[in-house]
C-alpha cells in the first residue's frame, strides 16, 4: 500500500491527478489529506471554476483525513514557512507527496524529504509504470 498525500493543487478533471484518483483502488494507493488542505481548497477553488470545485467534491469523500501536524513558526526553524503545514503532515502520514505547486515545492520535486517522495502526479504515474507496478484497469469511476 502506498499512501499518497493529496494537496489543493491536484484537482484537474483531465490531468494526471484525476487518473491517480481513478486508479487508486486498483493500485492500492491510499489518498490522504488533512483539514488544512480542505481549508486551502475552500479558500481558493471557488474562485477558479465551477468545474474545479465539482472535481474536488468528487475527490473529497474518498480521501482519508489525517490530522494536521503543526510545526512551530519561528525564525531559525529549519523548514520553509509557506509549505510547512503540507510538508510536515505529508511526512507524518504519507509515502508520496503529490504537488503541482512549483512555487512552494519546486526545490523538493523529484527528491526525497526524510523519506517522503515529492512528485508531480505525472511523474508519480511514470515512476509507477517504470517500476512495473501500475494497473490502469480496475478502480473507481466517477
Amino acid at each position: 500500500m502506498t499512501r499518497v498525500f493529496w494537496p489543493a493543487s491536484c484537482a484537474s478533471d483531465r490531468g494526471a491527478s484525476r487518473a491517480i484518483f481513478e486508479w487508486a483502488v486498483g493500485n492500492d494507493w491510499t489518498r490522504v489529506s488533512t483539514p488544512y488542505v480542505l481549508d486551502e481548497v475552500g479558500r481558493n477553488l471557488p474562485r477558479l471554476t465551477v468545474a474545479a470545485t465539482s472535481v474536488w467534491n468528487t475527490f473529497q469523500p474518498r480521501l482519508w483525513m489525517a490530522t494536521d501536524v503543526l510545526t512551530i513558526d519561528r525564525r531559525g526553524a529549519f523548514l520553509p514557512t509557506k509549505d510547512r503545514p503540507i510538508l510536515v503532515s505529508a511526512l507524518a502520514w504519507a509515502d508520496v507527496l503529490l504537488t503541482l505547486d512549483r512555487a512552494d515545492f519546486g526545490n523538493l520535486l523529484n527528491q526525497s524529504f526524510y523519506g517522503l517522495n515529492v512528485l508531480t502526479p505525472g511523474d508519480f504515474l511514470l515512476t509507477e509504470r517504470r517500476a512495473g507496478r501500475l494497473s490502469t484497469g480496475a478502480g473507481e469511476r466517477t
Binding site: 481558493n44 494536521d68 503541482l100 504515474l125
Partner: protein, 66 residues
Amino acid sequence: MSTLAEIEAAADALPPQEKQELFLFLSARLRAEGVPRPEPRLFTLEQMHGWATDDEADMKRFHGGE
C-alpha cells in the same frame, strides 16, 4: 537522555505504532504551546490555471509513452 541526538536514537528504536504516537504527542505539545494552524495559502488564478494545464500536459506525456 537529554540531547536531541539521544532522543532521536531512542525514538528510532520504537515500534511503528509508538513512533506514530510520539509524533502525535509532539504535535499536540506544539499546539498546546500556542502554535496555531496557519492561514490557508491564497493562490492566484494564474497559479491554479497553470496547475491544471501542467497536469493535463503530464497526462498527455504519460499517454505518449514516455
